[in-house]
C-alpha cells in the first residue's frame, strides 16, 4: 500500500451550513440550526478520512456540502487547490467527474425501472464519454468485474439483487468516471453483517488499484479504525477532535471521543462484561463558540482549551 501524498486533494476551510433562520411571514425569525459549524480539514490524495459522530452531528451534511450537493452558508471548498464554492452548474460539471458519492441505502439509491447496466452507464452518457455502443458495453462490463459482479447481470433490474450486490452496483456507478474522490456516506450500515466485510474489502482494493481518496462517513468505529488513515469526530456540527487513526483510538483527548470509544460493543464476552462505558453529557460539555482546534500531537488536534 502506498502512503498518501502530503498535498491535499480536498480542503475544507471554515465551512458552515445553517438551516432555518429565515424571517417569518409575520415577523421574527425561525430557529437557526448550525448543522455544520466552522469545519476545516484537508484530505490528502490517496487518503481515507473517517468522519464519525452521533446522528445529527452534521457528518452527512458535511459530505453533501463538500460535493456541492447543497450550497454552504459560508466557507470554502478547495479541490486540487481550486476554490469550487459557488461555481455555476456548468462550471462545476468537470469537477463532478472527479467527485462522487455513495449513499447508505442501496435500495433507495437505485432506479427500479432501469437495468443496473444502464444505471452504471448513465454517468458515462451524461459526460459524453460513452463512445460507441460496443465500447460503452465493454466499459460497463469491466466496471462490473472490478466491483465483483458478473457482467452477465447487466441486463437485470435492481429488485433481482441482494443488498450487498446493489451496493456493488452503486460503487460501479461511482467509479465509472474514474473519479479521484469519493464520499461514502454510511455505505455498509444498511448491509447484512455477513456482507459488510466484502464491501469494506472492496473499498480498500479499489483504493489500492485506482488511488482513490475517500471521505468515509460512519458510526461503526471499529470499521473506521480498520479502514481509515485519519479520523475526525463531530459533535453538534463541529469537529471536536481530528488526528491519525492510532492517535484517536489509543490516545483520545476530547471527552466525547473518549465516551464514543468506550461505548463500542466488543464481540468478546470476556472483554464486553468488564467494559465500563464513560458517560458523556453533551450539553454540559459543549465548547464555547470561540473555541478552536489546538495541537496535542503529531497532526492530532482537539477542540477547546
Amino acid at each position: 500500500m502506498t502512503e498518501p501524498h502530503a498535498t491535499p486533494l480536498v480542503s475544507v476551510n471554515r465551512l458552515c451550513k445553517t438551516y432555518g433562520g429565515e424571517g417569518r411571514l409575520f415577523g421574527g425569525r425561525t430557529v437557526a440550526l448550525k448543522a455544520v459549524n466552522n469545519v476545516s480539514f484537508d484530505i490528502a490524495a490517496g487518503e481515507t478520512l473517517g468522519l464519525v459522530g452521533e446522528s445529527g452531528s452534521g457528518k452527512s451534511t458535511t459530505g453533501r456540502v463538500l460535493l456541492q450537493l447543497e450550497a454552504p452558508t459560508s466557507g470554502d471548498i478547495l479541490f486540487r487547490n481550486k476554490n469550487i464554492t459557488g461555481l455555476s452548474k456548468a462550471m462545476l460539471k468537470p469537477y463532478r467527474r472527479d467527485m462522487q458519492i455513495i449513499f447508505q441505502d442501496p435500495y433507495a439509491s437505485l432506479n427500479p425501472r432501469m437495468t443496473v447496466g444502464e444505471f452504471v452507464a448513465e454517468p458515462l452518457d451524461v459526460h459524453g464519454l460513452a463512445g460507441a455502443r460496443s465500447e460503452r458495453q465493454d466499459r460497463v462490463a469491466s466496471l462490473f468485474k472490478k466491483v465483483g459482479l458478473d457482467p452477465s447481470f447487466m441486463k437485470r433490474y435492481p429488485h433481482e439483487f441482494s443488498g450487498g450486490q446493489r451496493q456493488r452496483v452503486n460503487i460501479a456507478r461511482a467509479i465509472a468516471l474514474n473519479p479521484a474522490f469519493i464520499v461514502a456516506d454510511e455505505p455498509i450500515t444498511a448491509l447484512d453483517v455477513s456482507i459488510q466485510a466484502q464491501i469494506v474489502n472492496l473499498f480498500q482494493d479499489l483504493q489500492d488499484e485506482l488511488g482513490l481518496t475517500y471521505l468515509f462517513i460512519a458510526h461503526d468505529l471499529s470499521m473506521i479504525r480498520y479502514l481509515c488513515h485519519r479520523v475526525a469526530v463531530m459533535l453538534r456540527g463541529r469537529i471536536v477532535e481530528i488526528g491519525p487513526c492510532e492517535a484517536i483510538f489509543e490516545n483520545p483527548q476530547h471527552p466525547y471521543t473518549k465516551a464514543l470509544l468506550s461505548a463500542i460493543p466488543v464481540p468478546d464476552p470476556d472483554i464486553e462484561r468488564n467494559r465500563r462505558p464513560i458517560a458523556f453529557d453533551v450539553n454540559a460539555n459543549l465548547s464555547p463558540e470561540e473555541a478552536s482546534l489546538r495541537a496535542v500531537g503529531d497532526r492530532h488536534f482537539v477542540l477547546g482549551g
Binding site: S194, V200, L221
Partner: protein, 336 residues
C-alpha cells in the same frame, strides 16, 4: 422445573406472489426463567419472525404458522384464541421494538401510553396507573418523571423514547421481555446506556429476556445463551463464552472472523464470507449456509443437519453441522 418457554419445531411461511417464503424452519429451543437469550442473525434469518409468530403478531395472510408448538408457562400459545393472546401480550410477554419513533403514538402523552396496558390488564384507576407510570419512568432512568409523564413523544430524545418503550415493555411485570433490535436505531453512546439499563433491570426484577440483534458485540455483553440463526434455522446455540471462543458452525466462525476486532488498516484483510444471503423462496433443502461455506460437504447440500450437542464442549453448546469445523480449521492451519 419446567422451562419458561419451549419452542418445538416451529415452522413459519409467508405466501407471496413470488412464491412461498420459508421464513422459519423447524426451530426448537428452551428458555429457563431468569435467562437472557441473545438471538443473532441477519435480515431473513427468521430471528424476528419467529418471535412475532409466537404471540400471533405476524399478518395472516400472507404469514402462517405451518407447524410447531410454543409452550409458555404451561400453555401452547399457538393454540390460544386472539382474546387469550391479548391477555398474554403485554401482561405476560412484554415487547420492545426497534424504532421508538414509530412505535409510540405521537398524539398521546407518555403517561397514557404506559398506563394503557396497566389499566387494561389490571383494571387500575387513573391515579393508581399514574403512580405506577412514575415509578416505571424512574426505574428506566428518566429524571423528573412526574413532569415528563405528561409530555408527548416528540419532546423526548431517541434514547429517552427507547427508555419509554422499555417502561411499557416491563409495565405489567412480564415473565418474558422480547426486545427486537431495540438499540439498532440508537447512537452507540445511547446504546451503551440502554444496555446498562437492561442489565440493571435484570438484577432488580429478574426478567427473562430474549434480545434479538445482528450485533455480536451486544450479545457478548448481555446474553447468557446465544443462538445464531441463518436461513430460518438455528445454526448454533450455547453458553455465550463457549460459542464466541469455540464456535462450531462455519457461519458463526465466519461472522466473528469478519469483524475488525480492533484491527488496523493494512495489517490484514478482513475475512469475508463469500456469496449472498439465501433465497428463502426456494424449498429449504440441506444446510442453508452450505452454498457459502468453504467446508461444506456433499451431504450438507442434500440433508439438513440436526441441532445436536457439540463434541467436547460446554454442556448446552449445540451445533447443526455435518462437517467438523475444528478438524477443518486445524487442517487449514497445517496448510498455511
Amino acid at each position: 422445573m419446567a422451562p419458561l418457554l419451549e419452542v418445538r419445531n416451529l415452522t413459519v411461511a409467508f405466501d407471496t406472489p413470488s412464491g412461498t417464503v420459508h421464513a422459519v424452519n423447524d426451530v426448537c429451543y428452551t428458555l429457563e426463567e431468569g435467562e437472557t437469550l441473545g438471538i443473532v442473525g441477519e435480515s431473513g434469518s427468521g430471528k424476528s419472525v419467529h418471535a412475532l409468530s409466537m404471540v400471533g403478531l405476524i399478518a395472516t395472510p400472507p404469514g402462517r404458522v405451518v407447524s410447531g408448538e410454543v409452550i409458555f408457562n404451561g400453555r401452547d400459545l399457538l393454540r390460544l384464541s386472539q382474546r387469550e393472546l391479548f391477555e398474554v401480550r403485554g401482561k405476560e410477554i412484554g415487547f420492545v421494538f426497534q424504532d421508538p419513533m414509530t412505535s409510540l403514538n405521537p398524539v398521546l402523552t407518555i403517561e397514557r401510553q404506559i398506563a394503557e396496558p396497566l389499566r387494561r390488564h389490571f383494571g387500575m384507576t387513573k391515579s393508581q396507573a399514574r403512580a405506577r407510570v412514575i415509578e416505571l419512568l424512574e426505574l428506566v432512568g428518566i429524571p423528573d418523571a412526574a413532569r415528563r409523564a405528561r409530555q408527548y413523544p416528540h419532546e423526548f430524545s431517541g434514547g429517552m423514547r427507547q427508555r419509554v418503550m422499555i417502561a411499557i415493555g416491563i409495565s405489567c411485570n412480564p415473565k418474558l421481555l422480547i426486545a427486537d433490535e431495540a438499540t439498532t436505531a440508537l447512537d452507540v453512546t445511547v446504546q451503551a446506556q440502554i444496555l446498562d439499563l437492561v442489565r440493571d433491570l435484570k438484577r432488580k426484577i429478574g426478567t427473562t429476556v430474549i434480545w434479538i440483534t445482528h450485533d455480536m458485540g451486544v450479545v457478548a455483553g448481555l446474553a447468557d445463551t446465544v443462538q445464531v440463526m441463518y436461513g430460518g434455522r438455528i445454526m448454533e446455540r450455547g453458553p455465550v463464552r463457549s460459542v464466541f471462543h469455540d464456535p462450531r458452525s462455519a457461519y458463526t466462525w465466519g461472522l466473528l472472523k469478519s469483524l475488525p476486532h480492533g484491527g488496523r488498516r493494512g495489517v490484514n484483510r478482513l475475512y469475508q464470507i463469500p456469496g449472498n444471503p439465501p433465497d428463502l423462496t426456494k424449498e429449504p433443502v440441506g444446510d442453508p449456509f452450505a452454498p457459502r461455506n468453504p467446508f461444506a460437504t456433499e451431504r450438507c447440500r442434500l440433508e439438513t443437519p440436526p441441532l445436536v450437542d457439540a463434541a467436547d464442549s460446554t454442556p448446552g453448546h449445540q451445533v447443526a453441522a455435518w462437517y467438523d469445523l475444528r478438524a477443518e480449521l486445524a487442517r487449514m492451519e497445517v496448510q498455511a
